[in-house]
C-alpha cells in the first residue's frame, strides 16, 4: 500500500474551529479521564497556585489534535488502513474557559511506510497552545 500520490511534504491540513471551552466540558473531561487535578475545576485552587484562572487539561487539547488527525486520515484522505503508530504532543501555553481553539497544520513527511502530520492547536488570538506530531503507518 502506498500513500495517495497528491500527498507531499507541506500539504496543508485545514484549521477546523472547535466550540469555545466551557466549565461543563472540563468537568466532563475530568470525570471521563479520571484526572483529579483541581486546577482544572476550582478557580480558587487555580489562583492559589499563581494561575490566572481554571485551565483546560493539556490532554483535552491533545485529544483535539488526535481527533483532527483521525478525521484527516479516515474521512478526508479515506485511507483508514493507515493507523496511528505514534502521537507526540507538547503543551506550550495554557487554555482558558471561553477560548476558541482551531486545529490544523501540514503533512510533514510522506514515504511508503510513513505519513507524518504536524498539527497545531491555536487559540482565538493566534497563539499556539499545543503542538502535535502524528505518525501513521501500516501496523
Amino acid at each position: 500500500m502506498v500513500p495517495p500520490s497528491h500527498l507531499k511534504h507541506g500539504t496543508l491540513i485545514k484549521f477546523e474551529v472547535r466550540s469555545p471551552i466551557t466549565q461543563l466540558q472540563l468537568k466532563a473531561y475530568a470525570e471521563a479521564s479520571g484526572d483529579p487535578n483541581p486546577i482544572h475545576l476550582d478557580e480558587g485552587v487555580a489562583k492559589s497556585v499563581g494561575l490566572p484562572g481554571v485551565i483546560a487539561h493539556g490532554m483535552l487539547l491533545a485529544a483535539f489534535i488526535a481527533e483532527r488527525g483521525e478525521i484527516y486520515i479516515r474521512d478526508e484522505l479515506k485511507i483508514s488502513a493507515w493507523k496511528l503508530v505514534r502521537l507526540q504532543t507538547r503543551f506550550k501555553s495554557m487554555t482558558f474557559i471561553g477560548d476558541e481553539i482551531a486545529i490544523g497544520g501540514i503533512v510533514k513527511e510522506v514515504s511508503e511506510s510513513d505519513i507524518v502530520l504536524d498539527l497545531q492547536a491555536k487559540n482565538q488570538n493566534g497563539e499556539i497552545v499545543t503542538v502535535g506530531s502524528l505518525r501513521y503507518g501500516l501496523r
Binding site: 466532563a28 471521563a32 484526572d35 487535578n37 491533545a62 483521525e70 505514534r86 502521537l87 503543551f91
Partner: protein, 138 residues
C-alpha cells in the same frame, strides 16, 4: 527557605501493575467529553485514563498535584483497545532533572507506562506505551 527536594535518587521507582476492564460506557463518555466520533475502539488519548501509576508516584514523591504541570505526552501504538478488554499497566519514573528558578525549584520528571491487554481470556500482549513529561514545582 529553598526546598532541597531532588528526585534523581528515585528514578526506577515503579507503581502498579493496575488492571482495568474497558466498558462501552466509559469509551462513549470519553468520546463525548472530547467531542470525538465513537469509532468502536478507544480513541488515541484514551490511554490518559490509565494515569493511576503516575498519580500514585506523584504521591510517593510528595508532589503537590496543583503544582504539577503536564509538559509533554507521547504515545506509541502497537494494537487497539476495545470494549471488554482487560488492560494491565505499570508506570516507572525513568528520568528526573532539577532546575533552580527565581520562584523555587522546578523538576522535570519523565514517566513511562506499558499497556498490556487480555481479550476474551487471551493474552494479546502490549498494545501501547506512554511517555509523560511533567514539570513540578516544590
Amino acid at each position: 527557605m529553598e526546598n532541597k527536594a531532588d528526585f534523581k535518587g528515585r528514578v526506577g521507582e515503579k507503581a502498579g501493575p493496575y488492571e482495568e476492564r474497558i466498558s462501552a460506557d466509559h469509551l462513549e463518555k470519553f468520546c463525548q467529553a472530547i467531542g470525538s466520533v465513537n469509532r468502536g475502539e478507544a480513541s488515541p488519548t484514551f490511554l490518559t485514563t490509565f494515569r493511576r501509576g503516575e498519580f500514585d508516584l506523584f504521591g510517593k514523591l510528595g508532589l503537590n498535584l496543583s503544582k504539577v504541570l503536564h509538559a509533554e505526552q507521547e504515545y506509541r501504538y502497537e494494537g487497539k483497545i476495545i470494549t471488554g478488554d482487560l488492560v494491565s499497566y505499570e508506570t516507572e519514573l525513568v528520568q528526573a532533572l532539577r532546575k533552580s528558578g527565581a520562584s523555587g525549584a522546578m523538576h522535570f520528571l519523565i514517566f513511562e507506562t506499558g499497556f498490556k491487554v487480555t481479550r476474551g481470556g487471551t493474552d494479546v500482549g502490549q498494545v501501547a506505551s506512554a511517555r509523560t513529561t511533567i514539570i513540578a514545582r516544590t
